[in-house]
Point group: C2
Chain length 564, copies 2
């Protein structure tokens, strides 16, 4: 008897489960039940379609060679039956069958299964705000959403305006897409920052960049009401009272797992709201597996269960589930470490592992951290800056996470850090990494390694650092350390912090001791563009008997506040 | 009493030792003795200077902010004395002093030390070939070399020709530089391939790309004689008898460590010809440390000592040596894993860990390997191919190495693999990596992870692969497997291997069984552009009872032989 595999959900995890099962069992009967019209959509690509990177929506459901992944493709190429525009309405675990309903014809039928995969994904959260159902208010979650939004932003000569509600990853990608499509837009975010996976000061650098592209960003504000005229949105009223006129709004305040179908038949839903699975992606019913945005999985840094609705995780989980459905539980999905990345105009911004905020939330009380800014290759090769913030456990040196932003190659440094986390490495494992070095690709010592060196320097008390946030707080409280900018005069002329600093170029410092405070207990904060010269200056001042010298970490490049 | 630190050698490791010592001990007396006129040269940047990426040689000795690192800079900014054009002629270990000689004035003096660092680097190998001292024959090892070579290739209207002797990393970078500078050049290499850190078939893909740029590449041939006229080179005569007319030649057949000074005073030289150091970069004399191209260090994969003359390693070793010189042996340099990368026109080529050839040489007899080709991001984002070859130990799944070439983002995948090697990871650690995914940066499952999946598929016998080399050997011996190309007809029209294959597009395979050999024991080799469809075809054929089906790994993209 051929095994019958049924998969409910056909976006990312589902088709992966089905395709992998086919590769492992050519005789199996495999059925995908998909509510939408489309299958196997590259949903992370929607913003790039809307933004005009490409215009053919078929590419979002095509194989690398351009074949659209429709039911005909699944049938002909893979021998998989895919029912689209078909909803699974119930799971009968006792009799091992599911009820499905064709949403076009209304036809209802039952399908038996030997093993079932629930890959029902997530759905966008639509808050109960007055006016939310007006025309012109969209989410960017389905291919239909993407096509509709692209139609709305189409250049018809009028200058359109949009409001993006939510400054998370999807919100920021959407904001870029709209702006690139010629739509003037405003991002509204309840929190005090965009991209909540970053710490405030890192997110602020991204926000500054977004604003430099003409986007308005409003933080610490939320939507009170959508105003309409003839059923179509005309403005957004914020909790602050501000009213923004607009032609459209995109709501991107997050997603929630679709678990009703599973929950209704007694499959256990976890405390975070996702389907509970073991490391084999198996639910409490041994014949039912689940994968993708609808499950909760283990954060390998904190060892807590968490929702992690990411396209790459869904695919990996699907591959694991399929193997276990066919062969029994032979393959583990251990969890994720929390890696995310997005392109934001000329910037790339991302994080892996824990941010400082997350670490605090998780109860870490003994953290060592550093902010580091540096060009991503030698100057003569056209270097671009990467600003990084790293965290480790102070007692053990265990590496905890990296955030990185900038116009340089951020993705490679996040990759390095993600692998360090997967390898559970400590500072001492990371100081002498043998990474691929040649001038077109990195400085002789890669930025990530240098950042580890600085972290080690702080850890060993070779260096005392102060973050931009700490310095700002100090000064806001009325303290005024002696601020020492050690760049060249030419650099100072072009750009300066303008916070009461004194300029003494590093090369003149040894002969300019008279310009320094004579009280050796004075708090001195040194810096330069990236605070490498700032570090050398601090060491020299220490040798001159100054007892309270700190380096402004990341220097001017990492300074998120206004400057002159 | 202030400590006296003396550093012999001022290229890469030396200045790093000196600068780091200064950061750790502001009162120390620090002296660098450098034979050349220049200090702290970015020698890996020479090819890009010659090739015209930039024209100001000062950038090769400048800090990130543009300050030239000359004796004045070291003195003023760092408080370090640097003697240039000065040779260290002897080390007197008993009295802890060295003799130095100013090469301009001839003046001789002795300098005492408490701790000494030997960072004398390496020198280019100049083979004893007739005519090697003719004008116009250069190496590309020093800044003087680079400036002289740039002068030679300067566009004066004449069409110049060059011969590059040696197809290793420096040779290939030089070849690109010369070609970009408008010089027609020929690379001559004794081995049967360029870039010896790659396996033959991977190197061949790079060679094909180099040739497509108009460079002539001659392998398995060496230089017999340089012919000159009026003391200047006019042609190169090869061992094959071929004569190549040229205006210049660059000899880049490797480097050897400069160890005479150290050896003369009884410092132990290792079996590989480099100065022997422990993991603290300390020689057999506890007061003498060594770092950079002149030492031999541990290969962390094979645990053998090896020469590893790389700029990044030199810097890292210098940082370690400095800390140990100041504080006693507190910091370890454990070794390297063998990571190298180079840009070759539009290609990037690199390797980390072991190649198949190296693994064989090291005695590995039970290896699992795979070749994998795939686009480096989704097609709609402008994907470019990356071709990878991975190795692991068959019994344990321990990951051993990655080679990668192509126009896509090779550096990031090498970084991932290098970190996997540093973390001593196995296949099972690598199947579900949480890497930074978004469409501008990678496919939903990153190429490296997919390659690991294919390796796992082979490991578990889900898939039987055959490499291009194995297939070619088979056919050269007269065997003719049934070759099944499963791409689309449109693709086949544009490009095909032309080795007697049959085309049956994957979508038609289920209904085209009559076109296949009827003997189920026939050896069948399936493939497509990258052999993903080839893999699906193979699985289907297995299910139809075919017992000897293999997938051509990497498909057409990884095929290094001529095709139609």
């Amino acid at each position: 008897m051929n095994q019958r595999y049924v998969i409910i959900g056909g976006s990312a995890a589902g088709p992966k489960v089905a395709s992998k099962i086919r590769r492992l069992d050519q005789n199996a009967e495999i059925v995908i039940v998909q509510k939408s019209k489309n299958l196997s959509m590259a949903s992370c690509g929607y913003p790039y379609f809307v933004g005009g990177v490409f215009d053919n929506p078929t590419l979002l459901v095509a194989t690398p060679t351009g074949a659209p992944r429709n039911p005909g493709f699944f049938s002909k190429v893979k021998g998989i039956t895919a029912y689209v525009e078909t909803e699974a309405t119930a799971i009968d675990r006792e009799n091992k069958r599911i009820s499905i309903k064709n949403l076009v014809s209304g036809e209802v039928q039952e399908i038996p299964y030997d093993k079932l995969a629930v890959t029902t994904g997530a759905e966008p959260i639509k808050p109960p705000i007055e006016g939310i159902n007006l025309d012109g208010i969209k989410t960017l979650h389905s291919l239909e959403d993407a096509v509709a939004l692209k139609e709305m932003v189409k250049n018809d000569g009028s200058k359109k305006k949009a409001v993006v509600v939510g400054g998370g990853l999807i919100g920021i990608e959407t904001c870029e897409a709209l702006q690139l499509a010629g739509v003037q837009n405003t991002v509204v975010e309840m929190l005090d920052q965009v991209l909540p996976f970053l710490d405030w000061e890192m997110a602020k650098l991204v926000e500054n960049h977004i604003k430099s592209k003409g986007v308005e960003v409003l933080t610490q504000d939320g939507v009170k009401k959508f105003h309409g005229k003839d059923g179509h949105i005309v403005s957004v009223e914020l909790q602050s009272g501000k009213i923004i006129e607009c032609d459209m709004a995109v709501v991107s305040i997050g997603v929630k797992p679709r678990t009703k179908l599973a929950g209704d038949c007694g499959i256990v839903i976890g405390t975070k709201g996702g389907i509970q699975v073991n490391r084999f992606m198996q639910t409490n019913d041994p014949d039912i597996y689940a994968a993708g945005d609808c499950v909760e999985v283990t954060n390998l840094i904190t060892h807590e269960k968490q929702l992690w609705p990411m396209g790459d995780a869904a695919n990996l989980q699907g591959r694991v589930a399929a193997q276990n459905m066919v062969y029994g539980n032979i393959e583990e999905y251990e969890g994720f470490i929390g890696t995310g990345i997005c392109k934001v105009f000329d910037f790339t911004a991302g994080s892996t592992g824990l941010s400082e905020k997350m670490a605090q939330r998780e109860g870490y009380e003994n953290i060592i951290k550093v902010t580091h800014a540096a060009p991503d290759k030698p100057g003569f090769m056209g270097a671009k800056p990467v600003i990084m913030k790293l965290l480790a456990v102070k007692t053990t040196g265990k590496f905890l996470g990296l955030q990185a932003v900038g116009t340089g190659d951020v993705a490679k440094r996040l990759t390095t850090a993600a692998m360090a986390l997967h390898g559970r490495m400590c500072i001492s494992h990371l100081t002498n990494l043998d990474l691929p070095y040649a001038p077109p690709f990195s400085p002789a010592i890669d930025n990530f390694i240098t950042a580890i060196h600085v972290l080690e320097n702080k850890w060993r008390n070779y260096m005392v650092g102060i973050s931009c946030v700490e310095l700002k707080e100090k000064m806001d409280q009325g303290e005024q350390p002696f601020l020492l900018d050690v760049r060249g005069e030419d650099e100072y002329k072009v750009l300066r912090l303008g916070i009461g600093e004194t300029l003494i170029p590093l090369g003149k410092l040894r002969t300019s001791l008279d310009l320094l405070p004579q009280d050796k207990k004075t708090e001195i904060v040194t810096y330069c563009k990236i605070s490498l010269r700032g570090y050398e200056a601090a060491i020299f001042l220490n040798s001159q008997g100054y007892e309270n010298v700190k380096v402004l970490e990341g220097g001017i490049v990492a300074w998120p506040y206004p400057h002159e």
